[in-house]
């Protein structure tokens, strides 16, 4: 039986339009914390089975073995006005997401890539995927309490970002800090889009 949804799960009847931003980053980097800080409702988890051909070949059947894993996406939502809501989808953004990854990025305004300054290496896969799919993004350093503070230029270089890629920082536990990071991201996206169209 389906449970009865609480009224807060529904968007207002006046809403005409939705926008989507992907919050990407490696495991444990604070994506769900970020989504929860902005969302009006506790993040909702969408889980999917992803089947992929494994590299191993099953000798008995002489067919490629398949692997099935479950991937989870936590998403949240915020009304920006009477007629507009913003959805934030947190995703590890790994190649194994396959078709779900396409569904996440199609129609997204862009992506906010959260990085942990203690583990920048972990971000390379997601940055590569976004570049491959032509998804515009900004990189946001999550200011963990116990993480060292590096000059932004050093992080920019360590992540091998293009000169024009925005790098900023936030505290994913603080709603105001997350909203500010989103504002910087969308300003950056709008500037790039203006440049493309002019």
């Amino acid at each position: 039986m389906a449970s009865v949804l609480t009224p807060d799960r529904f968007v207002a009847p006046t809403v005409k339009e939705s926008a989507k931003i992907v919050v990407a980053g490696s495991f444990g980097v604070g994506k769900t914390t970020f989504v929860a800080s902005v969302s009006e409702v506790p993040p909702v988890r969408m889980e999917e089975s992803v089947t992929g051909a494994s590299e191993r070949v099953d000798d008995l059947a002489r067919t490629p073995a398949k692997t099935t894993t479950t991937v989870g996406v936590d998403f949240g939502r915020k009304h920006l006005s009477d007629d507009l809501v913003l959805y934030l989808f947190g995703t590890p953004g790994q190649a194994r997401f396959g078709f779900l990854w396409q569904e996440l990025v199609i129609g997204a305004l862009g992506a906010l890539v959260l990085v942990d300054p203690r583990d920048l290496e972990a971000s390379h896969e997601i940055l590569g995927l976004l570049e491959d799919h032509g998804v515009p993004f900004a990189v946001v350093v999550n200011l963990f309490d116990d993480a060292p503070r590096y000059p932004p230029a050093e992080i920019h270089e360590a992540l091998a970002l293009d000169a024009g890629t925005l790098l900023t920082e936030c505290d994913a536990r603080q709603p105001a800090s997350c909203i500010e990071a989103l504002i910087q991201l969308v300003e950056h996206l709008a500037r790039d889009q203006h440049a493309l169209e002019s």
């Binding site: 389906a2 949804l5 339009e17 939705s18 926008a19 909702v44 988890r45 959805y87 996206l189």
Partner: protein, 117 residues
């Protein structure tokens, strides 16, 4: 022994969506679904479960992602179910945008974010 068995992950969505594998309309994870009144005769069990979520909606909407999460259905199947319900005018879908990223939407998002900063 005959050939390899069909992959159940491929078979099940096909059966569940009545042979359809692509949504007819542009339905996305963030598309908003609003229920409408109408003739529900002949709907599949899954389609009825989708509409059932709106029994206490008060006219409010759910994203396709909410529907998928709540019913435990793959998002691809949920998108097809919603597109079919829209085709039968049992739901309306506030569609997302095409692949161009419209500046007008970015500006409205910015205004909304600044109002909440």
């Amino acid at each position: 022994m005959s050939g390899p068995r069909p992959d159940p992950d491929q078979v099940r969505p096909y059966v569940r969506t009545g042979g359809r594998t692509r949504p007819s309309a542009d339905v996305r994870l963030e598309s908003l679904v609003f229920a409408r009144q109408g003739d529900r005769l002949g709907l599949s069990a899954d389609a009825r479960r989708v509409l059932g979520l709106f029994d206490h909606s008060g006219g409010g909407g759910l994203s396709v992602a909410d529907v998928a999460a709540e019913l435990g259905l793959p998002s691809s199947i949920t998108r097809i179910l919603v597109a079919d319900l829209a085709g039968r005018e049992l739901v309306t879908v506030a569609r997302g945008h095409d692949d161009r990223r419209p500046i007008s939407l970015m500006e409205r998002v910015l205004n909304g974010l600044r109002a909440h900063a």
